[in-house]
């Protein structure tokens, strides 16, 4: 098993899938020179027709990717979450809706790799974590890897999957090292990972918040509190059963989510448990999600916005009161 950096795991998945299937190609801005890191060396191996640098026209080229997927290509589009606003119509009106609207005729094996920059002074225009919005819209599979192995396996699955997938790549993890099995294959969607087992409380943690939850759990274990951590890995489909089973065991639920807290994935998970796991609950559900403000540039304020180990610990303690 190799120690692999998160961004390299992305690169490996791209290379392997492009080798595996000629219909896979990638497009985005400045990807040939790998400005955002993940597309290094692709141009040399796969050439200009399969590694497309685009003009600054997200709605146009997202749509072109979608259109090409309709006739048999498997495009992988690189972008930042914040640039998806410009391309929203193509993502929603076309990628998400087309198959159902056309009675199942359209198959859209398109993958959007949307990097979430946040936490490093990127300010309001470059710090979106928008997966909850896309969860509200039927028709998109939503992937939120929290470590290099999952990143690689889930990106491979996204590329092979025949539906539109948005892979939200957590920028705070780009430098993270982790073990990636040598033959890491595609990881099926909808299977949560039990990050650690525990008995006193369940933390469902999403993307970059998984690491924070682990640190919180480490510290709590010193206080004798045993925390179970569940990483859903994909939000659409969502492994409800894993979450409900865990809450049945622990009776307590904390959700750690780096996205804005209103109408969030955390809200959704809370609402599912409040409906379907209600009788297991022994304490109020705690959401630990981003404060409902835009992302301030200055570190003195930005550091207050997101879930962190302290906030998660405090929330776990609240459920145990």
């Amino acid at each position: 098993m190799a120690q692999t950096v998160f961004v390299e795991a992305i690169n490996q998945a791209l290379v392997e899938e492009m080798r595996r299937d000629e219909s896979v190609y990638i497009m985005g801005e400045d990807i040939r020179r790998a400005v955002y890191g993940a597309t290094a060396n692709l141009l040399t191996e796969f050439g200009e027709k399969r590694v497309l640098d685009t003009p600054l026209s997200e709605n146009g080229f997202f749509g072109a990717a979608i259109g090409s997927s309709l006739v048999g290509m498997r495009p992988v589009v690189e972008t930042l979450t914040s640039f998806m606003w410009v391309a929203m119509d193509q993502i929603i009106s076309q990628a998400a809706k087309m198959r159902y609207m056309f009675g199942g005729q359209a198959t859209l094996p398109v993958t959007f790799r949307a990097t979430m920059y946040y936490g490093g002074g990127s300010a309001a225009h470059h710090s979106d974590r928008s997966y909850p919005m896309f969860m509200n819209m039927p028709g998109l599979k939503i992937i939120v890897p929290s470590n290099p192995a999952d990143m690689k396996g889930l990106l491979k699955q996204s590329i092979r999957d025949n539906d539109p997938c948005i892979v939200f790549e957590d920028g705070t993890l780009f430098g993270m090292r982790g073990e990636v099995p040598d033959n890491q294959d595609a990881i099926p969607f909808g299977k949560a990972r039990v990050v650690r087992e525990g008995t006193d409380a369940t933390i469902v943690a999403i993307a970059g918040a998984v690491g924070h939850a682990e640190r919180a759990a480490d510290e709590l274990s010193n206080e004798g509190v045993s925390v179970e951590i569940i990483d859903p890995r994909t939000l659409v489909p969502l492994d409800k059963k894993a979450i409900l089973d865990s809450v049945e065991k622990t009776g307590r639920l904390i959700i750690a989510d780096p996205a804005h807290k209103v109408c969030s994935a955390a809200s959704e998970i809370a609402s599912i448990v409040a409906q379907e796991g209600f009788w297991s609950l022994q304490a109020p559900i705690q959401k630990v999600a981003a404060e409902q403000v835009h992302i301030p540039y200055t570190p003195s304020l930005e550091s207050l916005v997101y879930p962190n180990p302290e906030k998660i610990k405090a929330a776990v303690r609240t459920t145990l009161e």
Partner: protein
């Protein structure tokens, strides 16, 4: 340009198909046989028919809300179109799409889009696939004068021109977007003039003349297949009816004059085409009438087909969401 009698007669047939279909749709909509919006293509038949007949069946088209003419021009099934408007399982999209979302992927109809200009990037993408794979199919997208003001058009045309994609941007300039004249929405005189902003040919064509549309599109197809890139074609035309069924009721005030409407009705594409066929000795009045009558029967049959096709049952609600199934939340 030499055009075979077969093609010329097919033009007539397809135009009559659209005309009779649309008139039947208006009749049945008024009769309350189905609800939802529908945007008649009457008066504009020559544009889609001339353009589509320049394509092979392996080429792709995509379109917009004014949606019935495009698939019928490409040879889509009349029964399937009517059944779709009736919301039945026999429709192109099993009743899930309705008037604005006709699509038949099996014959290259990648679908009509209710969001104005939204299918322009998609069609560009089909052409991109052709380009990447080194195949020679082309892609054509229909959009209106109003749509030409959307950013999606600008971005797609620029992309297509840069990459020399085999795509044809077919602007149906029927001169109005709902009640708004294109002279109040397009800052330049002709929409085809905008081609110069992308270094591609822009061609202004009489949209009432099916042959002119066919010829202009044939040249664009040639360019596209030869790797010379996209073409912008503007078919200047006119819609006879209101923007959409039902909408006439709420509109306040006139936005075009009766004289204007009358003048355009005089340039009816079916009349122009029929007269030409007869005057050039290609077909007789009787032959032409027979085409119309045959098609009318087919359209009438489609109403029966649609009525007899069942509504989708509740089990269909969650079907067709995913190619690789996942549980409903």
């Amino acid at each position: 340009m030499e055009i075979s009698k077969e093609t010329l007669m097919l033009m007539l047939r397809r135009m009559w198909t659209i005309r009779h279909f649309e008139e039947k749709v208006m009749e049945m909509h008024s009769a309350g046989e189905f609800a939802g919006g529908a945007h008649p293509y009457i008066g504009e038949e020559a544009v889609a028919v001339g353009a589509c007949l320049a394509l092979e069946s392996t080429d792709y088209i995509a379109g917009n809300h004014r949606s019935h003419g495009h698939p019928l021009a490409k040879g889509g099934s009349v029964n399937g179109a009517m059944a779709e408007l009736y919301g039945r399982v026999g429709g192109y999209c099993k009743g899930k799409g309705g008037s604005m979302h006709l699509a038949d992927f099996s014959i290259g109809i990648l679908g009509e889009s209710g969001i104005v200009a939204s299918s322009v990037p998609v069609a560009t993408g089909a052409a991109l696939a052709s380009h990447i794979r080194g195949e020679d199919f082309v892609s054509m997208v229909f959009f209106g004068d109003g749509a030409s003001n959307q950013g999606a058009c600008h971005e797609s045309m620029n992309l297509a021109a840069l990459w020399k994609l085999p795509v044809i941007f077919l602007c149906e300039n029927n001169q109005f977007a709902v009640t708004t004249s294109y002279r109040n929405s397009v800052a330049v005189e002709h929409i085809s003039d905008r081609a110069s902003a992308y270094n591609m040919p822009g061609v202004l064509v009489d949209g009432q003349d099916c042959i002119a549309m066919y010829e202009a599109t044939t040249e664009a197809v040639r360019r596209a297949r030869a790797g010379e890139g996209p073409t912008l074609i503007e078919g200047l035309t006119f819609r006879y009816e209101e923007h959409s069924l039902g909408l006439g009721r709420v509109r306040r005030g006139e936005y075009r004059t009766q004289e204007e409407i009358d003048a355009w009705r005089k340039r009816d594409p079916l009349v122009i085409h029929t007269e030409r066929l007869i005057s050039q000795g290609i077909a007789t009045q009787e032959e032409c009438d027979a085409v119309s009558a045959e098609v009318l029967k087919e359209v009438e049959g489609s109403v029966e087909f649609a009525r007899n096709s069942p509504f989708p049952g509740p089990e269909a609600l969650f079907e067709d969401m995913w190619a690789d199934e996942i549980p409903a939340p």
